[in-house]
Amino acid sequence: MPKHDTPLLDELESGPWPSFVSDLKRQAETKPECWDILGQLELSYKDKITHWKHGGIVGVFGYGGGIVGRYSDVPAQFPGVEHFHTVRVNQPSSKYYTTENLRAIMDLWEKHGSGMTNMHGSTGDMILLGTRTENLEPFFWDLTHKLDQDLGGSGSNLRTPACCLGQSRCEWACYDTQEACHHLTMHYQDEIHRPAFPYKFKFKFSGCPNDCVASIARSDLAVIGTWRDDIRIDQASVKEYVAGNIPANGGAYKGGDWPAFDIKDEVLDLCPTDCMWMEGDELKIDNSECTRCMHCINVMPRALRPGTDMGASICVGAKAPILDGAQFATLVVPFMKISKDNDFEELIDFIEQVWDWWMEVGKNRERVGETMQRIGLPTFLSVMEIEPLPQHVKEPRSNPYVFWKEEEVPGGWERDVAEFRKRNAM
């Protein structure tokens, strides 16, 4: 494949941020189809429009997801990207790799694909970008036989679950996000590979309310670590922070032009529930008022830690705007123990109860959050056999339109209008 002139893209080779254009050009030396990626992208830069055709259903036998079909609408000009399908490879929990494993995957992609990737896709998969239909099965053969690895999800199925780095390198993780993510991914292989849902369904696992995998914004089922006892305080370290001997916020403000650390301004006054105060040089917390927002812990990580009775809050129904507008996930279970000791049984029971209901009442291409909104949170809670709690709402309803059930009203709804008229003439 010949090189193409790319005067517009060449302008993206300057500047301090890493240049994907320079990277593509380097890769093109050994994978000439990369010249055609550059050529077609240059055409898009000139025309200000995409040159990929709509969709295309391709895959490997037996799977309904994991490969996304893509075809060029100018294949005669750029034959190297005539077929340019995406392969989603399920990432290991928290995206740790050995170089041995990464090099082996890169070798496979050199053999079967374009040599370009995304590390990683928005849902979490390793994205291998661009290959031909006839390469898909040989790639899958090598992936499974040589590397013991597998594809991720796409389409109306369980999408590849993802987690934060959790207890592997974070002091705040309230449960083992890596193990929960891996266990559920293995448990639900069928649901990941064979679409049977009304629409996509995503799990994300965050170890604490800082929510580094954005689970509350991006997953149908968000498992967000929390605790239900008292924040652990090391008063000696509190004094060190007050004395300015330890940098605030884990050093996140080093280099900024800020006044000396002031525990009142930076911690006590920013507590959303006003539940902290100083008694002399001792920090006090009224834990019964704490909503576990993480601010004080973020600012003084050596003095404060989450409690020891740890678990997770389960929130359901987040999604991006298409179609009814963006939704955050709604708090459904305030606290659940998340433990591999019982193979995450309670969480799995919860998930399957959500799925049973959604697969029955969900419309085609309706995310579970939209189904919840259409049917109503009270009905959802009742289906889930969860007692309504004030924690489920920001505030009680302000309209009076209650859907009373017949059995909730004495005497039911069957009445005799003739009897009524004997007492109440029209």
């Binding site: 969709g55 790799y97 390198r169 002091e171 959303p272 705007p321 298409i322």
Partner: protein, 375 residues
């Protein structure tokens, strides 16, 4: 032995799932999992985590373009082999992290990374502009209204000083999604760049019968703007659809369902800017990003209007916000009318919600600030 197209099911292995994460954890991580006591960012991009066992792990974080080649990943592996016993990891925001188990290994690792041109910018920690989450754009997607990698490169070239320093009031998370499907889930970002269409779909009557299920195309429109219609193709009447353009909100959902309804257009498409979203529960609850600039043109290769708009918002925020305030918390404190005034962004009817649940965002009190908007 390998794949045999004549016997496709022969020897097939399925449902293996991902490799068990434990085999990929560096020893210092594996030995101290669940035992970490605290962390400290030593300088931008370099962190230490300290365990109750006394062990320490030093992490050097470097940004990447996300769209990266196998050659570059092999180069990352070279670095990890030379300094990190052959382990590395990636973050959810497309950074690569190199970890070492003692302080004296940090210097040589950093020197190595810095010796490789601008491929591995060190930073992305603390009160910085973090590595932008983004989508595929014109590189790979079939529904985009803008490119992704190009605008991100242009924006980060301009804001590069803020990636490798920690001088902002709080972290600023920039994200780009190239259409309203929002694969990049930009709806809860401090500064969101969103590809938008502005022309209703065209109807390709000559193709629609072959490629679309008409009822699905009609049902795909959330506003009922797609209706059944007859059309004439080669003198024959066929069943097709029509679009009530006045009701179209340019979401593109019809095109997702029906390839014969394309809406992308060089002049119609561009970038909207939304600000003030966050996902963390820290201090305030998670919030959505709000639209403050409804449209900027697609101006490849460097999108100067978008780059300028992002820098402007960032600079006003830096001057005006208090320590720890995210962009949305700052805008809420000063009031959105002040946000528009201070940023010198024209307020238009496009920023007033008129979709579902719109009323939730209308002001129903007499509390407001007098800004230049009130003549």
């Amino acid at each position: 032995m390998g794949y045999d197209p004549n016997n496709p099911m022969e020897g097939r292995i399925t449902d293996l799932g991902p490799p068990k994460y434990e085999k990929f954890l560096p020893p210092v991580i594996k030995n101290n999992k669940g035992k970490w006591l605290y962390h400290e960012i030593q300088e931008p991009g370099i962190m230490v985590h300290v365990s109750e066992t006394g062990d320490e792990v030093y992490t050097v974080r470097a940004g990447s373009a996300r769209l990266i080649s196998i050659e570059l990943i092999r180069e990352m592996c070279d670095v990890a082999d030379a300094h990190c016993d052959g382990y590395l990891r990636f973050t959810t925001r497309n950074n690569v992290e190199f970890m070492v188990d003692s302080k004296d290994k940090v210097g040589p690792l950093v020197e190595d990374l810095k010796s490789r041109g601008n491929k591995f910018p060190i930073g992305g920690t603390g009160a910085c502009v973090t590595n932008p989450v983004h989508t595929q754009g014109w590189v790979h997607c079939h529904t985009p209204a803008t490119d992704a990698s190009g605008p991100v490169k242009a924006v980060m070239d301009d804001l590069f000083e803020y990636f490798g320093t920690m001088t902002l009031p709080a972290q600023v998370r920039i994200a780009l999604a190239c259409c309203l499907n929002m694969c990049g889930a930009v709806h809860a970002s401090d500064i969101a760049l969103l590809g938008v269409h502005r022309k209703p779909p065209m109807i390709d009557h000559s193709r629609i019968s072959g490629v679309c299920e008409l009822p699905l195309a009609i049902a795909s429109c959330p506003l009922g703007a797609v209706k059944p219609a007859k059309a004439e193709v080669n003198g024959e009447e066929i069943k097709s659809v029509k679009v009530n353009a006045e009701r179209c909100m340019f979401c593109g959902n019809c095109y997702t369902m029906c390839p014969a309804m394309p809406l992308a257009d060089p002049d119609g498409d561009g970038i909207a800017i939304l600000v003030g979203g966050k996902v963390s529960n820290s201090r305030s609850a998670p919030t959505f990003s709000k639209m403050v600039i409804p449209f900027l043109p697609n101006t490849p290769p460097r999108w100067p209007e978008t780059v300028d708009a992002v820098r402007n918002i960032l600079e006003v925020y830096i001057k005006d916000a208090k320590k720890y305030e995210r962009i949305g918390e700052w805008a809420e404190r000063i009031g959105w009318e002040k946000f528009f005034e201070k940023c010198n962004i024209p307020f238009t009817d496009k920023s007033i919600d008129d979709y579902r649940l719109a009323y939730d965002t209308w002001r129903t009190s007499t509390q407001f600030k007098y800004t230049s908007h009130i003549k």
